[in-house]
Symmetry: D2
Subunit: 132 residues, 4 copies
């Protein structure tokens, strides 16, 4: 399991006073970026340098409780590894340990030039296996 802590900013919220539902996906992506960095596979390097890409093909979220501005959210992330793709599952909890949202993103490995699916690159797979 990979864990990180996020601080909700004013601009994460909207006029309803809570985090805008689409921004939960941004927050989940923060955790994903932090995880990738932790396994030595920085996303910015992947976008620029590698011969593969890892686009998101599916994303979903279940919202349990509204997240107010100023909240501190703990995110824990686990992975499921498949042949050419992986699934990340996120749990978001508030300071009291209450579950505020669960999310899932599915990423597929594709050849940068052809766009065809490819087996998960070894460095990605090895990193993911540490949080399966």
């Amino acid at each position: 399991m990979f864990e990180t802590t996020l601080h909700i900013k004013l601009y994460d919220t909207d006029a309803a006073g809570i985090v805008f539902f689409a921004n939960h996906f941004r927050l989940a992506h923060d955790a994903y970026e932090a995880f990738m960095k932790s396994i030595g596979c920085r996303l910015d390097r992947i976008i620029i340098e590698t011969d593969y890409l890892l686009p998101v093909v599916h994303a979903e979220a279940d919202y349990k409780r509204p997240i107010p501005v100023g909240a501190t959210i703990g995110v824990s992330m686990t992975a499921a590894v498949r042949e050419t793709s992986f699934v990340l599952s996120y749990q978001m909890k508030d300071e009291d340990g209450e579950l505020v949202a669960t999310l899932e993103t599915v990423h597929v490995a594709v050849d940068r030039k052809t766009g065809a699916k490819i087996p998960l690159p070894k460095e990605i797979k090895d990193g993911l296996l540490t949080i399966c």
Copy 2:
């Protein structure tokens, strides 16, 4: 079916050159806001004035093709109405009519003060029935 057209802006995209996956939910919400306005139930009024709220409790997206900067996207939206909630389904197509993404958001009607589920307000239900 409710239909609207969206223009992808530079800030909808990221360094990978395509729309960031979380922003598809913002774009879907654009269609939702436009629809609500069309049925006389402006979201900004609901947030400020009514005794109910319509929070999103579930959202999901399937990404079929990357959306490049500068694209014009047609969104068509249909609804399914339940007792205390409704489901909106979105299809996003590019200029060539190719499907680029499908999304779904589930909204529940709650009492503003207690947070308890309530039957869908009549004006919302009547509006939604026009696109069921």
Copy 3:
């Protein structure tokens, strides 16, 4: 003068109930993108295809009145053309014609490869002269 109309979305606002100050710059950029399209110089094409770029080197805003969620904002834009750069000035007004904000962005033409300043490309200059 180039004029366009913008609809303030829920996600443009924050928990204070008004447009987040940084988002005024996004809105101004919406007007800029629409203008560039109108003169046949689509920004997305410039980013991908041309041998020059037009980065923003300065931006500023004066906020006169808060913009609430759901507002419709009229933006009028004028340009000042220099040798290697141009200045865009934006006025934002609400439905009552009240000034809500003024903004300015300064863009410089640079060679994509070297990053060196270059004279404004003719198609850009000609387009800008129509709103000087």
Copy 4:
């Protein structure tokens, strides 16, 4: 001087591969929020609980170098205190200590109900004086 470190996320950037110019203001606001928290004046509490607000009345930025995705940016912030307002100045530097941008935001203290300017609240003024 108040100092903080920011990690540039994929969604801070656009299709040009660098941080979108409006997002520098969001990043500066991150530093502002962190500072306010450090002096015991959390912005989320101000928005909800106090009888004053601190709206931004002016903002500006000078962009020196593009900020790429994945960058780590050091922000140092200083303040100038006036009777009813304050000015925050931000310097953003990259990992090599190179200046990438300078920004300024001007905030005015207003009565929440009347919107009239008021003297800076003591807790805000005292906090700001520590970084003047």
